[in-house]
Amino acid sequence: MTHVRPFPPAAPATSPHVGEVNKIRVLSVLVEDGPNTLTKVSGAIRRRGFHVRGISVGPSGQPGRLRITLQVDHGHAEADQVRKQLERLVDVVEVDDVTADDVHTRELVVATVKAPELEGLLQRGAKVLATGPKGTTVEFTGEREEVGAFVDELTLHGIVDVARSGPVVMRRTA
C-alpha cells in the first residue's frame, strides 16, 4: 500500500464547512497497472478542478490491475463528474462510486509518541510495534472518524512522528 497523504480530521456536524464534506466522493477505481496510469488518473482529477483528499493504491484481486481508493472533492462540478471523467480514461477499467453506500472503510496510522504511558491508546485498540529510547511506536486502524480521534489523543502523548494512510473501502456484503 502506498501512503500518500493523511486525510484531514472530519469536520464536526456544526462546522460551517460541513457542506464541503458533502462534496467529497468516495470512489473505488480498478485500473490497469501501467507506467502512465497514476499520472493520467491524477491529471484527470486535477484538470477538472477536483481535489484529492485521500488516496491509496494497491494490488487488486486481478493480476495486472490495481485498486485505487480515492476521496475527491469535486469543487463546483456536479458530483457525478468525478466518476464520469475517470471512466473516460482508457486505463481505467471500472469506477465504483461508493459515497452513499454501506461500506467498510479503513485507514491506518502509525505513530511514535514520547510518553511511556499508553493506556488510553491501547484501550482504543492500538498495537505497540516497538519501544525505543525515542519513544513508543504504535499502529491503529479504523474508520476515518476513529483514526481522527486517535490522532487527537496522540497529541496528548507528545507525537514524535506520525504517518497516516489514505482510505481503503469495501462494500459490506452481509
Binding site: 490497469e32 502512465n36 471523467q85 471512466e87 477499467v93
Partner: protein, 555 residues
Amino acid sequence: MVLEALEREGVEYIFGYPGGANLPLYQHLHEHPKLKHILVRHEQGAAHMADGYARAGGKPGVVFATSGPGALNLVTGLCTAYMDSVPLVAITGQVPSTVVGRDAFQESDVIGATSSVTKHSYLVTKIDQLPRVIHEAFHIATTGRPGPVLIDICRDVQQAEAERVTAERLEIPGYRLNGHVDFDGARRAAQALAAAERPVILAGHGVLLSHAEHQLQELAEAAAAPVGTTLLGIGAFPVQHPLSLHMTGFMGTGWNLNAVQNADLLMMVGMRVDDRVTAKLAGFAPKVKTFIHIDIDGSEMGKNVRPHIELVADAKQALQAMLPHIGSVNGDRAAWLNQIDEWREEHPLRYKHSNGRLQPQDVLIDMYRRARSQAIVVADVGQNQIWAALWWNYDRPGLFINSGGAGTMGFALPAAIGAKFARPDRPVWCVAGEGGFVMTAQELSVAVEHQLDVKIVLLNNFSLGMVRQFQDDFYGGVRSQVDLTHMPDFVKLAGAYGLPALRVEKFEDIAPAFDAAERTKGPFLIDFRIDPEANVYPIVPIGKSLNEFWEAPES
C-alpha cells in the same frame, strides 16, 4: 514494423518531420511507397495538416515527430484536435529505452506533456507491444467520440527486429463505447419534443461526426422544430432551410438567440454546451422546462447543463430511434415559428458598408457566390472565423472547418493544406487574419512544393481584430498591443515562397482578384486590406445572457 502496421491501417498520408529519435522510421520510409510523407516546416503544421485532413476526408490523420522539441511542438495541434474531437494518431520518437529518465539529448516526458490533450497515449519500450498498440491507437482515435492518440516509441524499439506479428484481436476492457440507445428515453424525448409549445434543437459537431444530418432534418421537419447549430456544428442543418436558426452562441444570430432564450424545450445534440454556447450559464435558456441532451460521451451529461432526458448514444442512432415517436405535434407550433420569422426580420445579419472601406463581408459574399456548396472553407481564429461562419450559407457537412474549441490561431493554412490532400476534388479556401496567418505561414512552402490548389483569403486589418473589438467594447476602449502595422508585405512574402498573390483595397477589385485566383492552378494568396474598424455582430457582452446581444449599428 511501424510502417507495415500503418499500411495495414490503410494510412495514405503522413505529415511529419524527422529527427534523431525517429530516424529508424525514416530510414525505411522509401520501402513503403503506399505511405506518402509530407515534410512540413514546423511540427505544429503537421498536427494541423493531419487535423484538416481528418476533418475534410473522414480518415484519421497521421503525424510523425521526433522526441523533445519535435514532440512538444505538436502539443497545440493535439489540443486543437482533442477539443474538437478529431481523430489523429501521432507517432513520436523517444530516446532509447535504456536512457529514458536520464535527461538524454532531446528527451522530454511527452506522455506527461500531452496526456491532458490526448484521448489516450502509449509509451512503447518493447517491440512486442507495438502491433497491439498501433492497432488499438487507430481504433481508439476513430471510434466513439474521436480524438487524438499519441504513441511514443523508443528509438531502439523502432530498430528492433521482430517476428512479423499481425495485430491481435482488440481487447480494451477500459474502453467503453456507448453504442446502445435507450429506446424508452428516445420515445420520451420524441414525445416531449412533439408536445412542446416552443421547442428548439441545437446541433453540434457530433451530428457531423456521426453523419446524422439526414435524421436531424427529418426529425426537425416531422416535429416542426427549428434548428440552430454551434460553430462546429455548421453544416449539420442547411442555413437556408425554413426551420434554420443558423448559428447559436455568443456570436450567434439574433433570431437564434431569441429562440433559445424563449424556448420551453431545448434539445442539444452532439455538443458540449460550453460557455461560448451558453454565455452566462445562469441566464441560459431560462424558460426551458425540458432539456434533452444527446451525446456519445456520457461525461457531457450535466457537465454544464443538467438535462431532464439524456441519451448517451451516437447521434444518428438516437435521432433515428426518436423519429417513429414524434406523432402529432403541438397545435401552437405555427405561432412559435411565426414568432421566430418575426425575429429573423427584426434582427437580420447586417454590416456597415457606407464608409468606403473594403468590408470583409463583401469579400465573403463574393466568395460564396462563386463557390456555393462545392468549396471547403477552412477558417482561422478571430473575427475572420465568425465572418466566415455567418456569411456563408453552408448547406451540408464538411464545408466549414475551423478550430472551435481550442481557438488556435495559425490553424487555417496548415489545416487547409491537409484538407486539400484529403479532398483534391474540391476547391479549398483558407480564410485567415494576418495575425494568425503569420503564426504558421512557413507552411506555404508545403503548398508550393506540392502545387496544392489552396486559395488563401487574407482578411488583413493590420490589427488583432477580435481582441481590438473586445478592448473597444468590453475593456474600456483601451487599445493595448493589438496594432500589427509592422507586418510583411504579403504579396512579396508570397513571392518569396513562390506563389502568386494580389492585393485588394477596393470593392471593385474583389471579383477580378477572385477571377485570377480561380484561373490560377496551385496556391494563390489575396491580401484583402479590409476596414480596420470592422466588427463582428451580433455579440453578447462578456458576462451577459444570450438575449442581451448587441447588433451592428445601423449603417
